[in-house]
Symmetry: C2
Subunit: 188 residues, 2 copies
């Protein structure tokens, strides 16, 4: 998606260790106009799928997901990164974060992910794909069906995208980063 | 706001200890159509304020905040509940959570909250107002100005609303819960 790629080249910053900082417009300060354009692009790419629910994971996935849900007039569920004290009956999975070098628990209430649900998962980043694999697990536990996964930014030099596409699920990334070698941002 | 009050009476649930569960449409599963209507109502209520930035706090504040930012075409910043490893120069404050009975750190990069910024803070709940007071502190540290605070749901039987209004900042809540005594939801 052209507008996003241009914005990454303009405002993205590369840190040591293959980190792409997009906190000027995606995951700390957010540009709602760009965010809405990206949501429209997801609607276009998943136009042939009969979706009835958007799933995301807190916190940076919420903004693009709510805008996709708004456009499609569908409920949006965000998975929580720890068990809320007021939630009992839920699906739980473990996600390993390379960035933080530790595992965390992700959960969704059984009330909001049910057999027969046709789910589109939306998130900001696809790198190793661990959060996405956790979502696949939650959707399977629920007996629901995952029809697509949409990411704002994919790092092609990590293996998440390749692994997810092998499952046969439609995976769409709006900008694919080929490499961050020598702190130079190369976009496919 | 009528649509929100009706939805709370229809889908809200009261738990022991003065807890109002709205996870069917606000803070776990979200209704994007209602969320957009609430954002429009905030735009109306703060129409006389010259705002240049929306501030919120992860995670449940992000959805209403991004929609307000989208309508007003303004950047939206969400404060983070722990210090990201890739963020250095930031404003930090402590917030005590009654629900979880512990304090947590909230931070915003100095890049995204600056002197002269005219800020509207948006969040889902106003109870004791501790998160809101933390945001007042962050805005003051930045030398920015807080022009308004908008909440989806306020619990009038806790003292946050009263304390915030004493500061002179315009505080708007779209539904005000008078009491949850005997697990009956009473709305003003």
């Amino acid at each position: 998606m052209k507008a996003l790629k241009e914005r990454i080249l303009k405002d993205g910053r590369c840190l040591a260790g293959g980190i792409l900082k997009v906190d000027k417009f995606i995951n700390h300060q957010m540009d709602p106009i760009l965010m809405k354009s990206m949501a429209v692009e997801f609607v276009r790419r998943f136009a042939n799928k009969k979706i009835n629910k958007i799933l995301t994971i807190e916190a940076s996935g919420i903004a693009p997901a709510i805008l996709v849900g708004y456009l499609l007039e569908l409920p949006v569920v965000f998975a929580k990164k720890r068990k809320p004290s007021t939630m009992n009956d839920m699906f739980v999975t473990e996600v390993f974060s390379f960035t933080k070098n530790k595992s965390y628990t992700v959960c969704v209430s059984k009330e909001f992910l049910q057999p027969g649900d046709k789910v589109l998962f939306i998130d900001d980043f696809l790198a190793n794909g661990n959060a996405a694999k956790g979502m696949i697990d939650l959707v399977q536990q629920a007996g629901a069906e995952l029809l697509g996964m949409g990411f704002l930014v994919e790092k092609a030099f990590q293996n998440g995208g390749e692994e997810l596409r092998k499952t046969g699920i439609q995976v769409e990334s709006l900008a694919i980063i080929e490499s961050l070698d020598n702190c130079e941002i190369k976009i496919r």
